[in-house]
């Protein structure tokens, strides 16, 4: 994710077999091709694969929140928090949009802001 300018998310795709992965290995995890999968920028639309409303988490973590796995339309799968939804209204295949945020306002030791993301129902204003 870019620390400056317009944020975006990268996936990595193998040129030999088309497999997509979330980070860049030294060789393709799927077909073992020694040509490292190459970065591509993914769009911000996707669909919910599964979710859970989390009521108990690690100490200090504010609950409840909705954790979800989302397949982006471009092939990459992401885990993220879904905000601004009634959990009862969630379903498999529900279209969602990726929204970039400030990662809860956290700051690096040198004061630099972080870039985070979450999901909202597609079409919802945020």
């Amino acid at each position: 994710m870019a620390e400056t300018g317009e944020p975006s998310i990268e996936g990595f795709r193998c040129a030999d077999c088309g497999a997509i992965m979330i980070d860049q290995p030294m060789a393709c995890r799927a077909c073992t091709s020694r040509t490292p999968p190459q970065a591509f920028r993914v769009g911000e639309r996707g669909r919910i694969v599964t979710w859970s409303t989390v009521l108990r988490s690690f100490p200090g973590v504010k609950t409840p929140f909705v954790s979800a796995i989302v397949d982006l339309d471009d092939g990459l799968t992401l885990k993220g928090t879904v905000r601004g939804v009634d959990p009862e209204s969630l379903g498999v295949g529900l279209p969602v949009s990726l929204v970039f945020d400030d990662a809860g306002g956290a700051r690096a030791p040198d004061g630099a802001p972080y870039v985070g993301f979450h999901f909202v129902k597609a079409g919802a204003a945020e």
């Binding site: 995890r29 108990r56 690690f58 993220g80 959990p87 379903g91 498999v92």
Partner: protein, 381 residues
């Protein structure tokens, strides 16, 4: 190549041991297993010791410092929740190779309290900002996929906990030994939908051990209580497009069990009992299908039918499972083998699966980035 036999197997009662070290727990289990086999530490040729959190401090050698420093080789194993199965399998391989006649596989753990896992590395904690990395949330999400695909209900997931807690009332070495009716399971604290607290494994300390021997040694000792290792398989998570963002309990388990069935020359219909990795109630539902105990999409109906309860067609987790007996991570994979051994000998008491001849033990381990599964198939000798 000749067969490998288990001639000793036992565990300590799972619970909380604030005043004892993991090595002391492991040493107690090792002595119980040696006594069970009628052997002493001087008979051991090699030790494989598993502990997810203590392998790096050489828990195996620490155990030998408790029970006798005979100078034998000792390998320490950490492989997440499959650590115990990995130690057992390495002991199996060592005997099978012909290099050794008597091996000890021992697992011991003192689990950290509270939710296992947690933030690692620099920067803000991702928990809550980027979904959840807690194990209940990951297995909740895995269960919700099954629910979405096949209509599995909250009640069906909860019935797994009702069943396994019921089983543990017959196991004096289980952490919990208390009935939990469906209403109580459903009404207990919601951790991550659809998992309530009683649908999450009991976080405990514990230790378990097994003595594996060559065919020659087994015949010397007598085969009357011996159990033959028919299949042993370990698999690492294969590539799946959503892995590791989505916990994939399925493909790695299916890979391991297919190899174990192939090695043993048996199938799921030949099994008399199964101890599988019910770290969460949703996981047991997934593994019914992963292990081939029913067809895909039939796991909800299988739990409803009572087939997986004691007295049913294929009893699962009659020990009480991780949900109720408890889940001391590095000991779990040996403890479920110990349970199978007890049934194959006909020594499981009130929870005995009548006439058991063939049993399967399964574990699944994972970190935030990788997975492992171990499967063993054991037969009455």
């Amino acid at each position: 190549m000749s067969d490998v036999y288990v001639v000793g197997a036992d565990l300590i009662r799972f619970g909380r041991y604030p005043d004892r070290t993991p090595a002391q727990l492991g040493a107690e289990a090792a002595l119980l297993a040696l006594d069970d086999a009628g052997l002493t530490v001087r008979d051991l040729d090699i030790v494989y010791a598993s502990s997810t959190f203590n392998a790096a401090s050489m828990i195996g050698q620490q155990i030998l410092k408790q029970i006798g420093q005979t100078g034998i080789p000792c390998v320490n194993v950490s492989n997440a929740c499959a650590s115990g199965a990995t130690a057992f399998r390495e002991a199996f391989v060592a005997i099978k190779s012909g290099l050794y006649d008597v091996a000890l596989a021992v697992g011991a753990e003192k689990n950290p309290k509270g939710l296992l896992g947690g933030p690692i590395g620099d920067g803000p904690s991702p928990e809550g900002l980027f979904g959840s990395g807690t194990t209940p949330a990951m297995f909740a999400e895995a269960g919700m996929i099954h629910a979405g695909k096949y209509g599995t209900t909250m009640e069906q997931f909860a019935q797994v906990a009702v069943k396994n807690h019921h089983h543990s009332t017959m196991n004096s070495k289980a952490m919990y030994q208390r009935e939990t009716p469906l209403e109580e399971v459903l009404a207990s604290e919601m951790i991550a939908t659809p998992l309530t607290k009683l649908m999450c494994s009991a976080n405990v300390d514990g230790a378990a051990a097994a003595i594996l021997v060559s065919e020659k040694k087994a015949r010397e000792l007598g085969l009357s209580r011996a159990v033959r290792v028919r299949g042993s398989a370990l698999a690492s998570d294969p590539y799946e497009p959503r892995n590791p963002v989505l916990l994939d309990a399925d493909s790695v388990t299916r890979l391991a069990v297919s190899k174990a069935y192939e090695m043993a020359g048996v199938g799921p219909n030949d099994l008399d009992l199964v101890e599988l990795h019910d770290c969460f109630a949703t996981a047991e539902i997934l593994h019914y299908e992963n292990l081939g105990l029913c067809g895909d999409g039939e796991a909800g109906a299988l739990i409803d039918s009572g087939a997986t309860a004691l007295g049913g067609r294929i009893p699962v987790n009659v020990s009480g499972g991780l949900l109720s007996k408890g889940h001391p991570i590095g000991a779990t994979g040996i403890a479920n083998i110990v349970e199978i051994v007890m049934h194959l000998r006909g020594e499981a008491g009130a929870r005995q699966v009548q006439g058991a001849r063939l049993g399967l033990a399964h574990v699944l381990g994972f970190s935030s980035v990788a997975g492992v599964a171990g499967v063993h198939i054991l037969e009455k000798a």
